[in-house]
């Protein structure tokens, strides 16, 4: 769940205090440290006061069980938001037939506006934004329903501009309340809008944009670049989402092209295109792994490692599956996995102390 930077800092401090208390207790049990009653009372009073203040100002989780419950609440609010979206869609379909066109349009326009007002109301009432998270998801769903159904009522030609409107709406919700789910939804819409623009510009129908993975490459690069520009210091907690979504987009596009070069725009033989993207895939995944470790971005390093392994296994499959007996193929894969495990373990040791997600 997204929080403001202050809230994030407050939660990190509460986590540090909790860890400090646990370590202190362990040190005392081991006999490595002994505080007298006066010191203990002063320290405990200071920690209690700090935690109480953090909890009051930012509603942070001060214990491990509170943190677990918070995760449960986040999952519940996501599922609740999705269920409410489904309820709105099905409710509208159920009563569509008995409403006249003006009533249909009014309901469609008013629904996202009412949910937006409810989101604002909830956000003012609670700092944790569980209800705000849920309602923002419903507001996004209501706006998607709004444009889709209005298009159906008036039999309009589907337009990619709807993706742009949904994308901006998602970003507005995300940056207004510091929520990451509307940000992810908005960015996916904007990625699709950009890809659809490419598809259209290159002569195909815009709805064909998923058929050509190269349509997504520029969008992926833009997403990765944004955190590096330091344009959104107040929203630093969004950086990992931009990086992860951008990398995922790039790697998935490259993976498809490395397996099926026929869907490329490059005017080359299919096998040449596949080879080019295989090289790019290995180099890109290796670079992401290296950059992730170097810059201490665990998400980037994990994505790099996952796709490097995937690219490697796909190559093994293409090279060996047809001529090697099945048992031998899996034995080789198993042995290589053991080797990779040793390699990643070595890298993991270098990542000790990672602080950024």
């Amino acid at each position: 769940m997204g929080e403001s930077v202050d809230k994030r800092d407050a939660q990190q401090r509460a986590d540090r205090i909790r860890a400090f208390r646990e370590e202190l207790a362990q040190l005392e049990d081991d006999g490595a440290l002994s505080l007298d009653a006066m010191q203990r009372a002063t320290l405990e009073s200071h920690l209690q006061q700090t935690l109480a203040e953090l909890a009051k100002r930012f509603d942070v989780d001060t214990t491990a069980s509170q943190k677990q419950i918070s995760w449960g609440m986040r999952i519940a609010s996501t599922l609740g938001g999705l269920a409410l979206c489904a309820a709105i869609v099905l409710f509208f379909q159920r009563f569509w037939g008995v409403l006249g066109v003006p009533a249909q349009v009014t309901v469609l326009v008013v629904t996202p506006l009412v949910v937006l007002a409810a989101t604002e109301f909830a956000a003012r009432r609670e700092q944790t934004l569980y209800y705000g998270w849920l309602l923002s998801l419903v507001a996004f769903g209501a706006f998607v329903l709004n444009l889709t159904v209005l298009g159906s009522i008036f039999n309009l030609t589907p337009s990619r501009d709807a993706l742009l409107a949904w994308g901006i709406f998602g970003l507005l919700l995300a940056y207004t309340y510091g929520l990451q789910l509307p940000l992810a939804a908005g960015l996916i819409c904007l990625l699709s809008y950009l890809a659809a623009g490419f598809s259209s510009w290159l002569g195909a129908h815009w709805l064909s944009f998923p058929e050509r993975p190269e349509n997504f490459l520029l969008g992926g690069v833009i997403l990765i670049t944004i955190p590096g520009l330091h344009l959104q210091r107040r929203y630093a907690e969004f950086d990992w989402l931009y990086r992860s979504l951008g990398l995922l987009t790039l790697f998935l596009a490259i993976l498809i092209l490395s397996e099926w070069g026929a869907v490329s725009y490059l005017p080359m033989r299919q096998s040449t295109v596949e080879m080019i993207y295989q090289v790019i895939g290995f180099a890109g995944a290796g670079m992401a792994l290296w950059m992730g470790i170097r810059s201490r971005f665990a998400g980037v390093a994990n994505l790099g490692a996952a796709f490097f392994t995937l690219f490697l296994y796909l190559r093994f499959y293409h090279w060996w599956w047809n001529w090697m007996p099945g048992y031998l193929f899996f034995l080789v894969i198993g042995l290589i996995s053991v080797g990779l495990l040793a390699l990643f373990r070595k890298l993991r040791r270098r990542m000790v102390g990672v602080v950024r997600p």
Partner: protein
Amino acid sequence: MRRIGIFLAAALVVTADIFVVLKAAQNRSGSPIATIELTERELRLVRPQRESTALFMELAWEPAWGWGRFKFEDGPGWFNQAKLEEIGYDCRLALSDPSAAAHYRAMPAKEAFAVLEYSEASGSGVGNDRSSWSRLVAVDAGCDFMLLRKKYPDTRFLIVPSLVRLLYTAKWDPNTRKDAPGAYLRGAVVEMQVGQVSVPPSQRSVLQALSQTTSDYLETPEAQVRGPRYSVVLYYGRHYEPWIGSCRLLTSSSIK
């Protein structure tokens, strides 16, 4: 930021909706660019979901699109390679090239205007297999609406924005009933840009009596004898987007 953000989001919703409504109004302003009366064969009644009370009609045309649909035909017909190139497909790669099949099969759909001829006589003969087929037949396609209208001025030709696709089709030998050596390129009208037309509330009462959707109805023996159950006057506006003008129920005697 919070207050500005929420106001901007609300303004975006209102602006987008105004834009959609104005676009729809503009399409329907002035006289329609085409008016045609079609029956249930061409405009098929569909319901999106079990619980839904919404009614839609889906435009059906021949040759109906489906994967492998043209496998057993002996040539491309009017939608040949020259027509594909006219629409913007690059067909320079020789069909004998080893990568031709993968290259052509990966080509995405393109926008084009499809010319659909409404011929009440086609597929005629109540009771035969084709009696339920659409009488709208795709006869041409192109990128310029005005050129096509000039070429097909008669009102029985409906010119509508559609999606077309290039198909790399293996030649078929009817004698051996197997794929023959070689292949050819053909095009197909695969989708209308507005394929589903919403039934307005004013016309819903006419169709209320029909309990079955068209696909369910066509499977009944009654459909073979009775034929289509309704006819619809369909208009196309300035943006080539359709709307339903009126619906009427047909009696057996009124069916041609």
